[in-house]
């Protein structure tokens, strides 16, 4: 087979013009929104860690899902494409919202703009180079009243350089806000315990200040009935605390060993908690 030089030339021009756009785009469209891959630093340093973010920007009314989607839907799934020497950790999920779609259906997810943070680690022997390309194939289910699936390819090229990496100032505020949106550790002066009956699990908290209301987001599916009313009772101001009654999932008959999830308070704070649950009939 003999290809004419003019054709080869056109092909080469085409490759130069279109490939970088297609392969390296940091932002890509998804149905009713877009997704971008961002890095907190301007370069990668061998032996150090930086943070990546998948930033979803959704049209009004549309939502994507938390890692536990609740009664319907599915969290975004990411397939990473990484050069040797780079590894990513688990996605860090910000505090979700409760999304009720029917009397018996409650989902957990995000509206508007949301950043999923992902740690990126570089091996100590990673060689310096002008560009290391990090790619992510994002599969997402996005819903309003109806659900659509989307698939997007986003990529980011960062230089590998020795020394301390420089923070990308233009994204600094965004990464800071993303960290504030993460559940925080429970204050050290709180005391939490949980008990259960056949149908319910009760979380008791002794806290450092009165809390008027809170909501529990279960980390695992089938811990509690998502659509059941969460019954919150605040204790008096003298010994502040609360009692939260949750209905166990009708699908899991086995006793709960622990309650894991996010406790979001009315005052805007949210805590990550993991509380052993006493066996039935014991307090």
């Amino acid at each position: 087979m003999c290809l004419r030089p003019r054709f080869l030339f056109a092909l080469a021009i085409g490759a130069v013009l279109f490939l970088p756009v297609a392969v390296r785009a940091a932002t890509a469209a998804i149905p009713h929104g877009k997704v971008a891959l961002l890095a907190e630093h301007r370069s990668i340093s061998p032996g150090q860690q930086t943070t990546l973010a998948l930033r979803f920007q959704l049209e009004e009314g549309w939502h994507i899902y938390w890692q536990n989607p609740g009664d319907s839907g599915q969290p975004p799934r990411v397939r990473w494409q990484l050069p040797p020497g780079l590894t990513v950790g688990e996605i860090q999920w910000p505090v979700p919202q409760r999304i009720q779609t029917a009397a018996n259906i409650v989902d957990y997810g995000y509206h508007g703009t949301v950043l999923l943070l992902v740690p990126l680690r570089a091996a100590p022997d990673l060689t310096a180079r002008s560009n290391a390309t990090i790619g992510a194939e994002v599969n997402v289910v996005i819903c309003r009243e109806v659900c659509l699936t989307g698939k997007a390819q986003v990529s980011l090229a960062l230089p590998v350089r020795a020394g301390s990496p420089v923070v990308n100032q233009s994204l600094r505020g965004e990464f800071e806000r993303a960290r504030q949106a993460m559940p925080q550790p429970v204050p050290t002066n709180w005391r939490l315990r949980a008990t259960q009956s056949r149908e319910t699990v009760v979380l008791y908290g002794e806290t450092d200040e009165p809390i008027s209301r809170g909501f529990f987001f279960p980390w695992e599916e089938l811990q509690i009935e998502n659509a059941a009313t969460q019954n919150w009772e605040s204790a008096g101001n003298r010994s502040p605390g609360f009692r939260l009654v949750l209905r166990k999932s009708a699908r899991s008959r086995a006793p709960l060993e622990r309650l894991r999830g996010v406790l979001a308070l009315e005052n805007g704070r949210a805590y990550w908690l993991e509380v052993p649950v006493a066996a039935e009939g014991r307090n």
């Binding site: 319907s72 599915q74 989902d107 109806v146 699936t149 089938l222």
Partner: protein, 204 residues
């Protein structure tokens, strides 16, 4: 007068709460009976099928998770395979008018013909009454009832909670697994799973 109003409100609240929590179908318990209108214009009762295994399939033809199983032919295969073995297969549509998946009888008949689907009947449930009776949360959601009228399976169609048709191959189909076991006289090994899919589009 005020007291009567209060009692009425209380009674209404209780009546509303019942379908959502207390009476919803549970594995190991009797399947709540219902009467439904099929896309062929027939009125059928669940209890008419006592003595047979019955599969309930919650359906919404616009939902990507449902399309996964219909566009691949997986759902139709299951319908044919099991109705050939005497199982009654009821496709239930609980979408409200104006919402995704709502169909008229003609539209559903046309869909069944076009997709080469083979349920015993399609039941139109635009008020969501049957859906709520079974606390159906997603499409698809699958329920199996044994010849004695007891729920023996409730949950997902299989163990791959995605909308991707490529995930059908190699998946464990919970409906087939439960029916195989039950028909062989064995206990159902996986009888309750978390259903996956789109939320059922109940009336507001």
């Amino acid at each position: 007068m005020k007291r009567i109003t209060a009692w009425l409100i209380l009674a209404l609240l209780v009546a509303l709460a019942v379908p959502f929590g207390l009476r919803a179908a549970r594995v190991g318990e009797p399947a709540p009976d219902f009467t439904g209108t099929t896309s062929d214009g027939q009125t059928i009762k669940l209890s008419d099928f006592r003595g047979k295994y019955v599969v309930l399939e919650w359906h919404n033809n616009g939902c990507p998770y449902v399309r996964k199983h219909y566009n691949s032919g997986n759902m139709q295969r299951l319908q044919k395979q099991w109705t050939a073995r005497g199982v009654v297969w009821l496709t239930i549509i609980s979408s409200a008018p104006g919402k995704q998946g709502y169909v008229t009888a003609e539209q559903q008949n046309e869909y069944v013909a076009r997709m080469n689907a083979a349920p015993t009947a399609s039941i139109l449930d635009p008020t969501g009454t049957i859906g709520r009776l079974y606390d159906a949360k997603t499409s698809p959601q699958m329920v199996i009832i044994d010849p004695n009228g007891v729920v023996i399976y409730d949950g997902a169609i299989d163990d791959r909670p995605t909308a991707n048709p490529a995930d059908i191959e190699g998946a464990t189909n919970y409906v087939s697994q439960a029916l195989e076991e039950a028909l062989a006289g064995k206990p159902v090994s996986v009888s309750s799973t978390k259903p996956y899919g789109c939320s059922v589009k109940y009336p507001d």
